[in-house]
Amino acid sequence: MHSLQSNPDTRADNWPSELYRILKAADVRQMSYVPDAGHSQLISLFSADRDVTTNVLTTEEEGVAIAAGAWLGGQRSVLLMQSSGVGNCINMLSLSAIGRFPLLMLVTMRGEWAEFNPWQVPMSRATQPSLEAIGLKVMRAETAEDLVETVESAAALAYDSDQQIAVLIGQRLIGKKKW
């Protein structure tokens, strides 16, 4: 979208606040997360929002169950995690898939771009295939601009069309972790 290019909010370092704006516009009322450095700003924005119930999780699959419960009760939710957490979710994603519960997961990728920690690599490689194997639609963004549009589209697909979507946020976009 050309209009977004001129918007200072979509500068490379400002995508978390754009995602927050989009998710608020989509009427997201619950957010759950296992932290990732790449999600830290979005987590802070939601945690400060009294209109959104925020749950910190012990393992990512809990958020899949919470999202289904929120939808049963008439609320939309979003689940934030890093790619290592996707493996924890697989069996619980049966719930979203077989019940056609709207699901929007935002997954920051590790282990694929300038990664220092080799332990992140195997699950990084398995992230997209395992999500697709359990029936999720996977969308991917490598630039801030593309990410904002992708999440907007994914939110509509999830909440309006009862789809189960994971948006993978490329590690190239998040930037190199300092060690």
């Binding site: 919470i66 049963l72 619980m92 019940g99």
Partner: protein
């Protein structure tokens, strides 16, 4: 060794839900789903046939979305053991309208009655207390279940977890629909929400 539980699970669940009013109930896979259905099908029931470890957390999302309604996660010891971390998450979230009731036969009843952790010293109520639950307790008789039913109908300051120790046996199955989309849409319609 603790004494062998004698309580019949179906009688316990019937007593627990006798005056459920508008309580919304999520049942864990296996026997708790059959127990819930055996009491009588209800539009405010969400029966799980999978998603092991998720019953109480579905209850959490629901309780947060519907703060004016009481939500009950009715599950088994094996299902709740798989979701142990969820007790910490619920303790932190501190919903005032969510109760977890574990129908505890101390076995994995659906898979051949193998002994579970709860018969070997693991106390789910102690875990709930350590996670900041507002109340927790264990009951073993039908009279205690009747008192528990009265207690959970009253307001709470936070989440509560109760264990009902029952006899390890598999009563005849009472099977609700396995169509999760149907059950989901029926549940949402019960709360006034349209299907997509």
């Amino acid at each position: 060794m603790p004494m062998q539980a004698q309580l019949d699970r179906r009688a316990a669940v019937a007593a627990l839900l006798k005056n459920r009013n508008d309580t919304l109930v999520v049942s864990g896979l296996g026997s708790p789903t059959y127990d819930l259905h055996s009491v009588g099908d209800h539009d405010g029931n969400l029966y799980l046939w999978g998603a092991m470890g998720g019953a109480a957390l579905i209850g959490l999302g629901l309780a947060q979305a519907q703060p004016g309604k009481r939500v009950l996660a009715l599950t088994g010891d094996g299902e709740q053991l798989m979701g142990l971390g969820g007790i910490a998450t619920i303790g932190v979230a501190r919903p005032r309208n969510l109760d977890i009731v574990v129908i505890d036969n101390q076995h994995f009843g659906e898979t051949g009655m193998q002994a579970s952790h709860t018969g070997r010293g693991v106390d789910l109520t102690a875990i709930a207390v350590a996670c900041g639950f507002a109340a927790a307790g264990t009951v073993r008789t039908i009279e205690e279940v009747q008192r528990l039913a009265t207690q959970i109908a009253e307001p709470a300051d936070g989440p509560r977890l109760f264990v009902i120790k029952v006899l390890a046996e598999n009563p005849p199955r009472s099977l609700p629909s396995r169509d999760a989309v149907f059950i989901k849409n029926r549940f949402r319609a019960h709360l006034g929400f349209a299907a997509a």
